[in-house]
């Protein structure tokens, strides 16, 4: 069952999250993340879930961490600076092998590295999904909770002001109120006194013996898990017209939708332009980018930052074709990353200038 409605991106994601089984949400208001928190605050009590207006992002991610240990699907989120505050915990939550969905409604595209590099300390990565519009955000929200539960790892949904605040007609799965099944590893206190009480720790679940527990073995397990994620999570990508393209343009997120439209128009007027839009930013769809670039003379990367995803495009193409940056920061007085350059004629001009 699904409901068709005209919804703001924030509300659509909130409904999709609750429909996917999310029962705990917490956050600290910050534009453009705020409305997601408001919608979760309205929705979760209807299914006996909990939404908390945390006192800071540090507390928000801590509360989400605690809720996640109980096996109920938990989520939090923020925007650039707030996500920076959360990174210490996101690293530890990854090593504690806990599922958590993080909605990152970024200001512009300057936080690609923060999202995809594991912005915190330590040797870790987590899954990052970047929808281009509201319908895709609904699909990817569901996928984010599924992947988080399946792999017991944080999954970030990376959006922006456009995604959070644009109204679109969209089908959102109905919220049926059924309680999601709690997995076996979850804590509820019941193993206390059994001689083998559970522990959930970023340092592993070993027992302190005469020799102490084996921290090295735990970190080896964490490394193996990251490798398994990289190999096992299907990289998602949106590709068009790359078979005979002289120039392939790479872009992600809502900006990627503008770039895709510019490419469609240029194709209509006879230019041999193709596009590739990575949807999973980690694991990065390196093979798909390599394949898309294979017949072309050049790859151009359009991002509204100083050039971040271009590093991943260069690593994917390994020097096989020249990779040129045609983006750049785009800001207006709001500071929310809705600059004047999100503009199809401007993007088309840059693409044409980059044509080989």
């Amino acid at each position: 069952m699904s409901d068709r409605a005209l919804l703001e991106g924030s509300e659509a994601m909130a409904r999709a999250a609750v429909a996917a089984g999310c029962r705990f949400f917490t956050g600290y208001p910050m534009t453009p993340f705020t409305e997601l928190l408001e919608h979760m605050a309205a929705l979760l009590p209807q299914v006996d879930g909990v939404c908390m207006n945390a006192e800071s992002e540090l507390e928000a991610v801590g509360m989400a961490w605690g809720a996640a240990t109980t096996g109920h699907l938990a989520a939090t989120g923020s925007t650039g600076q707030g996500l920076s505050l959360m990174q210490e915990s996101l690293s530890e939550i990854t090593n504690a092998r806990l599922p958590l969905v993080v909605f990152n409604m970024a200001r512009g595209q300057g936080d690609y590295f923060q999202a995809t590099r594991g912005g915190g300390h330590g040797d870790y990565r987590h899954i990052v999904l970047a929808p281009m519009d509201v319908p895709e955000a609904v699909e990817l929200t569901r996928l984010a909770f599924d992947l988080a539960g399946q792999w017991r790892t944080p999954v970030m949904v990376l959006g922006d002001y456009f995604l959070a605040h644009t109204y679109q007609a969209v089908s959102v799965p109905s919220i049926d109120g059924a309680a999601p099944k709690v997995p076996d590893w979850a804590l509820n206190g019941s193993t206390g006194g059994s001689g083998a009480a559970k522990i959930i720790s970023p340092l592993g679940s070993g027992t302190e013996g005469e020799e102490g527990f084996d921290l090295g073995a735990h970190f080896a397990d964490c490394a193996a898990h990251i490798q398994a994620l990289e190999a096992g999570v299907e990289p998602l990508v949106d590709v068009g017209f790359c078979d005979d393209a002289e120039l392939v343009v790479a872009a992600y997120g809502s900006v990627g939708k503008f770039v895709r439209y510019a490419c469609l128009q240029l194709r209509d007027s006879g230019h041999r332009v193709g596009y590739i839009r990575p949807i999973t930013l980690w694991p990065f769809p390196s093979q798909a980018v390599q394949d898309a670039a294979a017949g072309s003379a050049k790859v151009a990367v359009y991002e509204q930052n100083m050039g971040q995803m271009i590093d991943d495009v260069r690593l994917a193409t390994l020097g096989a074709v020249p990779v040129e940056f045609i983006g750049g920061p785009s800001w207006d007085h709001s500071g929310f990353g809705i600059g004047p350059d999100i503009n199809v004629p401007d993007i088309s001009e840059r693409i044409l200038e980059a044509m080989p």
């Binding site: 938990a74 522990i199 302190e208």
Partner: protein, 262 residues
């Protein structure tokens, strides 16, 4: 110091092994061996905390959230369910656990560096919110795990590695008396401070912890028990001087007693 005190030489092994009178390990401690220093007060406090869980029959509904400090070693020694949190963040993690498991018994174990330095806002917000959890503060007035640096609970004049001539209010500021602060919060149901430097205080510690647990199980709101613990290694005093040093240095500032009751 009186002349009749017994000093045990640790320069050479004892001539004969100590006789085991009985096994006094609480049933909820799986491994009594630990790596904490001789004279440390934390194992005594943990023991009281665990015995109270057992006596109130809370073992099968307990989730203990650990901070980061010397006591963290016990996270892997207990037979109750444990979540290991980051330095300072245990009250938020415990909040998430408790909100999803309202029937559970949820507690935190943190030191003064963890709770009062790094995580001051967390514990105060939890108290103000009336979060129905129990926080235990093991306060020794120094960063023990890193070797005896000043924390915000270090008392004026107390010598640490980062206040060599003694804590000077003009340079290092004044100590924060956490329990006194938490007791002002309307969401706090039970706040008390005790110590483990003598038998009477150990008994009092167990009593206060039990009252805090009972307060949570009655749904009264936030509870906090601050326990002054010895850290002779971090204080740079002889092991046997720990209890007296606590009495002379910490106890006159961090006053023992119940500060807020339901």
């Amino acid at each position: 110091m009186s002349d009749d005190r017994i000093f045990i030489s640790t320069d050479e092994p004892p001539a004969e092994s100590a006789a085991l009178v009985d096994d006094f390990t609480p049933s909820l401690i799986t491994q009594a061996n630990h790596h904490l220093c001789p004279g440390c007060g934390e194992p005594i406090a943990i023991r009281a905390a665990v015995e109270a869980i057992e006596e109130l029959e809370l073992a099968e509904r307990t989730i203990a959230v650990f901070g980061i400090g010397c006591y963290t070693a016990f996270a892997h020694n207990l037979d109750v369910e444990v979540v290991q949190a980051l330095h300072g963040r245990a009250p938020s993690v415990a909040t998430g656990v408790k909100r999803m498991l309202p029937e559970g018994f949820v507690m935190t174990i943190q030191g003064d560096g963890d709770m009062v330095n790094e995580g001051l806002q967390e514990v105060l917000h939890a108290a103000a919110r009336g979060e129905n959890i129990t926080c235990l503060l093991l306060n020794n007035g120094v960063f023990g795990e890193t070797g005896g640096q000043m924390t915000t609970t270090t008392t004026l004049g107390q010598r640490t590695k980062t206040s060599i001539e003694g804590r000077d209010p003009h340079q290092h500021g004044h100590p924060i008396l956490l329990s006194d602060l938490a007791a002002t919060m309307d969401g706090a149901a039970y706040v008390a401070r005790c110590a483990v430097n003598n038998a009477g205080n150990v008994a009092r510690t167990k009593r206060y912890i039990t009252r805090a647990y009972e307060s949570q199980m009655a749904g009264a709101g936030f509870s906090l028990v601050e326990i002054l613990t010895m850290c002779p290694t971090g204080w740079f005093v002889d092991t046997l001087e720990g209890p007296d040093y606590l009495q002379d240095t910490l106890a006159p500032v961090h006053n023992i007693g119940e500060l807020r009751t339901p």
